[in-house]
Amino acid sequence: MSVGIVSYGSYIPRYRIKVEDIARVWGEDAETLKAGLMVSEKSVPDLDEDAATIAVESARAAIENGNIDPVRIGAVYTGSESHPYAVKPTSTIVAEAISATPVMTAADFEFACKAGSATVQSCMGLTSSGMIDLGMGIGADVSQGAPGDALEYTAASGGVAFIMGDNESEPIALIEDTYSFTTDTPDFWRREGSEFPQHGGRFTGEPGYFKHVIGASKGLMEKMGTGPEDYDYAVFHQPNGKFPTRVSKELGFSRDKIEPGMVITKLGNIYSGSCMMGIAATLDQAKPGDRIFATAFGSGAGADAFSIKVTDKMEQFQKYSPKVWDQLKDPVYVDYAKYAKHKGKLKRS
């Protein structure tokens, strides 16, 4: 395959809340939670930010970082589980805001935390078949977690956009292959009109995350005839820090290979963009020739695995693109009351 990532961009809101501040409200032990979840703080959207504004900011970053002519983009797909409208695409807002309209296609995707990686696969198909020149796949969310629920400690906000293309001279990273593993597993859901998602507690672990991530990861390595030793880095969906740490160990990837992409500790889980943000943070540090193994997971449930190889175009790209870890520096911390207001959990009468 010559299809790959031509450019990427990310966006993280500047506000954060610490686990201590959430735990204090609900009478939980912060140190136990931090050790268990391996998360110390999470991003919080501004009052005038939603999944659409975050998708636009990440899309514009991808355009700027790669110096891409937006007219070349023939498809904009946005994956999110917090699309601002039930009916009316987020992707048309993004496409208009990056001046990719009108000769292009757009649609919104939803598959819990892997909607972003599904958009990337779709763009791979459209570009490699020659239907379009470039395609933009986005994962963006202002994730929801009910007050007092375990999810509230991790549900965060942010977005990542990948511009995919199949022109041999362009990709900064090739997608060598991809493999998906999908079943009907009700480990996490949000009904139409419901404000917050529900989940199956521990059921989200073995039958959900681990079965699918391992299924897709082993499937891809078997298909390609590769093993963990063939990869310099690995990224797995990060609902917390514990799950990707455990699954990488089970699959045989050493801790140092997942470290560059482990943004969960300071960012939280940005749902549809979670694995893509990990990939972006890893690409920020990768060198030409490096190989990255990545598996996104979405409840419901499915996993998309990717084998990525960095090209010599990456060095030039890295000179001018902002880094994910740099965006996590110098946050503005908010307390629980301000966080609740920002998330619409606290409403003026």
Partner: protein, 132 residues
């Protein structure tokens, strides 16, 4: 605001599209259909502003209009874009961060919404540009 009224100016709000007069080299935002200086001799063309500029003056809104109460206190400023046009815009910054002469960059934000069930209006606001 009606849906159609917003939609007509949507591209201008999303991407800071204004106009430039080739005759007198003046820039306008929002776009004008006629140059107020050159009148009939004016040659207007569409111009997309880069969006960088500086705060000319500002105020802090404490008593916000309906629909914006949750955001108060927030800064509202006159921003002079580098090409020359000026516009009034909310600034995405804490009131304590504000000062005259501050360099700003455009950011994509919600400008407002028609209640819980109506349209959400998106467009450009400005934020401190720490890299400038």
């Amino acid at each position: 605001m009606s849906v159609v009224r917003f939609w007509r100016n949507q591209v201008n709000r999303y991407n800071l599209e204004g106009t430039h007069c080739n005759s007198c080299d003046e820039y306008f935002y929002p776009p004008r259909s006629m140059c107020p200086t050159c009148r009939r001799e004016g040659e207007l063309e569409s111009h997309r502003f880069e969006g960088k500029g500086e705060i000319v003056t500002y105020t802090i809104i404490h008593s916000a209009a309906e629909g914006f109460e949750n955001q108060s206190p927030y800064p509202l400023a006159i921003v002079k874009l580098d090409e020359g046009a000026s516009l009034t815009s909310p600034i995405v910054a804490d009131p304590e961060e504000m000062y005259i002469g501050m360099r700003v960059k455009p950011v994509f934000r919600k400008l407002g919404e028609s209640g819980d069930k109506g349209m959400i209006y998106y467009g450009t606001k400005f934020a401190p540009d720490k890299n400038d």
